[in-house]
């Protein structure tokens, strides 16, 4: 194995589809044992980037290594040590769970195949469903099967593309516990998600929009670097307040959260001015810490101005 500390270390990775740049010169470094969250709106290029990492797509530009193997030349080696869970379920619906796992185990020539299949069924709680056809499983169980299958060859890097889309909260929590256990054991995980709670469970994050990497770091760093000011308002007639606020310069987001409104903007002075204009003694105003979601939406709006 290579001595590098990074499981993923790429620079300038670019992909174009018919003249449209879908991934634009992305640099990314992911340490071994880290859970790295990959966020971004639909169509921002997350899936495309992951496919380039595991050799499914050839980058148009860029270079780097994945597990110490060159992403351009040593794709075959990379494939042997990476577990890739596709966004769309991509195991055989007309094969049973056990047959699917057995197939993957054979492909990777896993030692003690029968034992490995059984252990993976047990660990993910799939054992009593092992004879069921994959096509008959509900969405959540399909995800479990997919996770089991991409772990069976003991990979060093997991690439998970929206593994928890459509999965219920409890199952999602179990899934994340599993991911953390695996990471604690030294596995590196790159995971895409649209859920903010999941983003916060990652060690570090990157946010992508229109193929550009806009920010990265820990959740705290990401929020701090965004320099977003957020106020929370509570009181009566919040709909009117929201409508009034939206007409003011410097108010970028007005979002209803239950019985409160969150009002954010990057320019604190303009935001204060706007709030002063609509302020009314019936409402209680409080400055709060911006959330990841506020930050991401703000980033996306800014990106739209810059790139779209």
């Amino acid at each position: 194995m290579s001595a590098t500390d990074f499981a993923i270390d790429v620079a300038g990775v670019t992909k174009k589809f018919g003249g449209k740049t879908v991934v634009n010169a992305i640099d990314l470094q992911v340490k071994r044992g880290e859970i790295y969250g990959f966020l971004g709106p639909n169509g921002s290029g997350k899936t495309t980037f992951i496919r380039m990492l595991c050799g499914l797509l050839t980058p148009d530009a860029g270079s780097g290594t994945c597990l110490g193997y060159d992403v351009l030349r040593e794709q075959a080696e990379i494939k042997r040590h990476v577990g890739y869970m596709t966004q769309k379920f991509s195991y055989y619906e007309d094969l049973s769970l056990r047959e699917n796992l057995d197939f993957i185990a054979r492909i990777y020539d896993v030692p003690d195949r029968a034992g490995a299949v059984q252990r993976s069924l047990d660990r993910l709680g799939l054992a009593n469903r092992s004879a069921q056809l994959a096509g008959q499983l509900s969405g959540g169980w399909k995800q479990r099967l997919a996770l089991a299958a991409c772990l069976i060859h003991d990979p060093q890097l997991l690439l998970l593309d929206e593994p928890t889309a459509g999965v219920d909260p409890k199952a999602r929590r179990e899934f994340w516990d599993e991911i953390h256990t695996l990471a604690a054991g030294g596995l590196t995980v790159l995971i895409t998600t649209h859920y903010m709670d999941e983003a916060e469970r990652c060690h570090r994050l990157a946010y992508l929009a229109y193929g550009n990497l806009l920010t990265r770091g820990t959740a705290h760093e990401v929020i701090a670097s965004a320099q977003l000011t957020t106020w929370m308002v509570s009181g009566p007639d919040l709909r009117d307040v929201a409508a009034a606020l939206r007409t003011h310069d410097g108010v970028e987001q007005v979002v209803a959260f239950g019985t409160t409104l969150h009002v954010s903007g990057r320019d604190a002075q303009k935001l204060d001015a706007a709030i002063a204009a609509v302020r009314d003694p019936r409402h209680e105003w409080k400055k709060i810490r911006s959330g990841l979601e506020d930050v991401f939406i703000s980033l996306m709006d800014a990106a739209r101005d810059n790139f779209a």
Binding site: E77, Y84, T86, Y92, L95
Partner: protein, 379 residues
């Protein structure tokens, strides 16, 4: 440990998977057995039917008693239905040309005279042999009818005319179909047709199906090699091909009584090559097509010339040169010759060798295109 190398465990993984999927896909599996059975029944029925009452024209230049006896006997046989009397040769030909009659029986002017002199007059039977299955039985019946009937008339002093080889000669002109395919020709030929049809269609779906269902992305993310996928998908269907070959051979022997002069193991050995050709073709289509419908269309595009230009439907030598060229490129053409050669003429390895090379060449080319076209990435 270079991952680029072909490995058996990955090949075997694909083979096992395909077997399971084949078993689960009951409809397709039923088709693979059903199609040969159906074709056997359809073609077999046409072959087995012994058509009677075929429209026949008589051109009798001699109206003497012997000629009348012959005509009456033919009329009474089940095979001929004397619908017309032609006066001139031109008229007779016209009837044949238009398909109004299947046969023209020409009784020469000097029929009775020659018969009485023991000179064995020649009766010319012209047949429209476009459909040899129709004319064959009638033609073989005519000799027997004439001889037995005239033998009855040739009594007393005329008995000496009952020559060993009959009192008269028949000269048969088969028009329009020089090669004269017989029933024995069709059933062995069916083997190539059935295999082409089922093998190409089924495997043409093999890779497009993975692509359409999204399982391809997963497969590509594993270390599996294109050659392993191709061969892994071909092997299980070779077994299916052998089931079909066996089915047809059994039917040929016991249902249709096709003689089997040559070596059956040789037939099986050559079938392996031919099945592989078709599977490679299917897999290649599969790697070219972007969806399953396209794949099936391509398979049909291949199937039609294989049935029409291979010498199965029409005699190969009767086809225009360009059609023969196309036919020469098709594996079915060579396979038909091999199987007919082995079964009917008792050909051995030496005789069929000239037809083996084209099959090998086809296999290598199809396989190469397939592996080349199989995309290792999603680009």
């Amino acid at each position: 440990m270079t991952p680029r190398r072909f490995t058996f465990h990955r090949l075997w993984a694909i083979v096992m998977k395909e077997f399971i999927q084949m078993r689960r896909d009951r409809v397709t599996f039923a088709m693979m057995i059903g199609i040969p059975l159906m074709q056997l029944m359809l073609f077999g029925f046409a072959i087995n039917s012994d058509p009677k009452h075929l429209p026949t024209a008589i051109r009798a230049a001699d109206q003497g008693p012997f000629a009348r006896t012959l005509v009456a006997a033919l009329r009474h046989s089940d095979y001929f239905s004397l619908v017309r009397e032609a006066q001139t040769e031109a008229e007779a030909h016209n009837l044949l040309q238009l398909g109004e009659v299947q046969f023209v029986i020409n009784i020469p002017e000097d029929f009775s005279r020659k018969l009485l002199r023991g000179e064995q007059p020649t009766v010319l039977i012209e047949a429209d042999a476009t459909d040899p299955a129709a004319t064959g039985p009638a033609l073989s019946a005519v000799r027997a009818i004439a001889n037995s009937v005239l033998d009855r008339d040739l009594t007393g002093s005329l008995a000496r005319l009952r020559a060993k080889d009959g009192p008269l000669n028949f000269s048969i002109h088969a028009h329009y179909n020089p090669e004269n395919i017989t029933q024995y020709n069709v059933v062995p030929g069916l083997m190539g047709v059935v295999l082409t049809m089922t093998m190409v269609v089924i495997t043409s779906l093999a890779i497009t199906r993975e692509r359409e269902r999204g399982t391809m992305e997963n497969l590509l993310a594993t270390p599996v090699r294109p050659f392993e996928v191709m061969v892994g998908k071909i092997l299980p269907y070779i077994a299916v091909g052998y089931i079909q070959v066996t089915l047809i051979l059994v039917a040929a022997r016991f249902l249709f009584g096709v003689p089997m002069v040559g070596s059956l193991p040789l037939v099986y050995a050559v079938s392996l090559l031919f099945i592989a050709c078709n599977l490679a073709m299917g897999i290649t289509f599969s790697s070219l097509a972007s969806n399953q419908l396209q794949a099936v269309q391509m398979a049909f595009f291949f199937f039609l010339p294989s049935i029409l230009l291979s010498g199965f439907m029409f005699p190969f030598r009767g086809m225009p040169e360009w059609a023969q060229w196309i036919g020469t490129c098709l594996p079915n053409t060579h396979f038909l010759r091999i199987v007919r050669g082995i079964l009917l003429k008792g050909n051995g390895p030496a005789e069929i060798l000239p037809e083996i090379w084209p099959l090998l060449a086809f296999l290598v080319i199809a396989m190469t295109i397939g592996v080349k076209r199989y995309r290792q990435t999603l680009d």
